[in-house]
Amino acid sequence: MSVKRIEHGHRYEDFEVGRVFQHHWGRTLTQADNTLFVSLTMHYNPLYVNAEYARTLGYESCPIHPLLVFNTALGLSVEDLSEGGGPFLGLGDVRFFRPVYSGDTLAAESEVLSRRLTASRPGWAIVSWRTRGYNQRQELVLEYQRTNLVRTRSAS
């Protein structure tokens, strides 16, 4: 018998520039997720909740809202990138390449773009990554760059 406590997450020292993380789990997105997300964010466009309207615009059915696709890729990346860290500071170049539909499965991976220690907050650093999300056919569906405050190993 043993007692185990498994810590999750990485620190500044783990983020060598160019290192690639293939994130865990994957997530099959559903229309239930989509309806919940657009409802709780008050996103008023029938494209995401009215399948007949979506078909008049040329979609197969309601696409999953791109910000839910983004939030899911972000969520899948957290254990590797930011669970051991601090607040999310900003995002750039968020691009969507093709629609995601209910039943599609999203997987995410990230590459370290840059890291630097902060002068104003000892024990903390600013790290940027590029994250990409793929569907079950390995087609790129989105990419973005994210910047966070990240702890160093010396931080309490």
Partner: protein, 160 residues
């Protein structure tokens, strides 16, 4: 019957115009915890109050609302006026989370039309670039960013 508004077609947007969106929204614990877990986000500051009280020297009194939810809500508050007739979200950039959001904060949104472009592939639509800003009940800016959408042209999409 029309499912979408008559005043948010591509032709209705003018660069420089500012929209003060009329609805606000109080962020609840349900919003933050539900969207954090629904998207499998494992960052404890969004859902572990006990841990948060010792985090970063106790700098934050409460769980932080997950930034991806704040972005989604502020964009949502702009959606009826700006993107109800959008057929696609093309992208976002220059997003800055400028101040923390907590359960109970009320967010309001403002948009500024930055520029308009023809679409190289969709003659029935045009591209609208706009800046969104979200402020809390004290007027403190919590998020800003730019969004690019593909919007229907009235000339192609409304009945003659």
């Amino acid at each position: 019957m029309s499912l979408t508004g008559a005043e948010s077609y591509f032709e209705d947007f003018t660069p420089g115009d500012v929209y003060e969106h009329s609805r606000g929204r109080t962020v609840t614990e349900m919003d933050n915890v539900l969207i954090t877990h629904l998207t499998m986000n494992t960052a404890s500051p969004h859902f572990n109050l006990h841990m948060m009280q010792g985090f970063m020297g106790g700098e934050f009194p409460e769980r932080l609302v997950m930034g991806g939810y704040t972005i989604g809500l502020v964009v949502g508050l702009t959606s009826e006026d700006i993107s109800e007739n959008a057929v696609a979200d093309l992208g976002y950039t220059n997003i800055r989370l400028k101040a923390p959001v907590f359960h109970g904060d009320t967010l309001y949104a403002e948009s500024e039309i930055l520029r308009l472009e023809e679409s190289p592939v969709r003659p029935d639509c045009g591209v609208v670039h706009y800046r969104f800003r979200g402020r809390n009940q004290q007027g403190v800016e919590v998020v800003e960013g730019e969004r690019t959408i593909l919007v229907k042209k009235r000339a192609f999409w409304t009945e003659q």
